[in-house]
Amino acid sequence: MEKGTFQIKTGFAEMFKGGVIMDVTTPEQAVIAEEAGAVAVMALERVPADIRAQGGVARMSDPKIIKEIMAAVSIPVMAKVRIGHFVEAMILEAIGVDFIDESEVLTPADEEHHIDKWKFKVPFVCGARNLGEALRRIAEGAAMIRTKGEAGTGNVVEAVRHARTMWKEIRYVQSLREDELMAYAKEIGAPYELVKWVHEHGRLPVVNFAAGGIATPADAALMMHLGMDGVFVGSGIFKSGDPRKRARAIVRAVAHYNDPEVLAEVSEDLGEPMVGINLDQLKEEERLAKRGW
């Protein structure tokens, strides 16, 4: 009996496809997410919008809060660690978290290295803005990729940029001759073997979700149309006027993203969305997507 193999990790991520993963900060919110049909929850002390507003160093959440959320729901529970902070990851693995997000939303612990994710039985998801970054994370053992977007803004523009960039580069790799792959691997800083895999298969070797700035059912469906496998919603649900209704609507919008009638129906009367931030009002150093290397 083999546990923690790459097949078990990536296979688990496959099970999230077509689903919505929601940020929650309390067991009550986790129950609302589960009732709405979320495929998993991300257990946090603060949602990205609050991390942004409050500033300071953002770290792994208190294991007590994560354990309370794990006890409250039957769906998988994820939690975040700082980039490069492998001890935070050891702690989360020890309490039995189902998936770890090595996340730029928290303050990075290492400005050069990410976690060696092969060392863990628990699977990891990492953010990426382009193909090179995604393949570096996969080479380090990530079993799932998500766009970085710009978390806590309620503004989908960066997630759209990252999704489009990823697919543009995948299509470009497919168009190359085999003897051009090495030079391209060097150019984007990605392992040759993975570039070759993408050239042959025309997609990433792991599941790729959208994240960072998704606030409405239409945003979520847009990301599905752009070829994402599913959606993370961070601040967008519990910072809105009617979280229960909005959570339910976003789940339906992802499942039926290609059905405008369903999208129209679920978009109706959702109350106030989260207040968004325009990206041109963010200073360069406030941009979370720039974290990670």
């Binding site: 296979g11 689903g19 628990v122 059905d259």
Partner: protein, 192 residues
Amino acid sequence: MRGVVGVLALQGDFREHKEALKRLGIEAKEVRKKEHLEGLKALIVPGGESTTIGKLAREYGLEEAVRQRVAEGSLAVFGTCAGAIWLAREILGYPEQPRLGVLDVAVERNAFGRQVESFEEDLFIRGFSEPFHGVFIRAPVFRRLGEGVEVLAELGGLPVLVRQGKVLASSFHPELTEDPRLHRYFLELAGF
């Protein structure tokens, strides 16, 4: 083999099932609403999150339509992992969870534990001459089997593959390996 098989595409790894069918020469049709069932004689319910699939299937009349077609005997169904949970008559500990109820078993969700306990293991499936590589992810097991439920594979004494009439259910994910035997078995069961 030829023909069309429906794959419930509300959530989960339906793409892998479509690819498994394609390798057998079968066309796969995504099913999201009850009208998509028309003309189908077989439906695969993928792995995914069983609570999500159950909730979404209850909407737009899909759950009721599938239940009716299975009761009439005009639709064969194969559920893997979350799909198997959805087929069960009873879900232990979660009496309110939406389900189809066409397979006379009580299913235990996450019977082996959380994700860090997920595993791969070779299985002996009745009627197959070679072992089958099983991928078990937060997998369920079948308990309290009703009359007419046949056990086709066990792991440590626990049933992990069962059949009742034209309903087939596995705890593991044959769609994640490239072994076509279990999909072929289902297609034969469905009359392809």
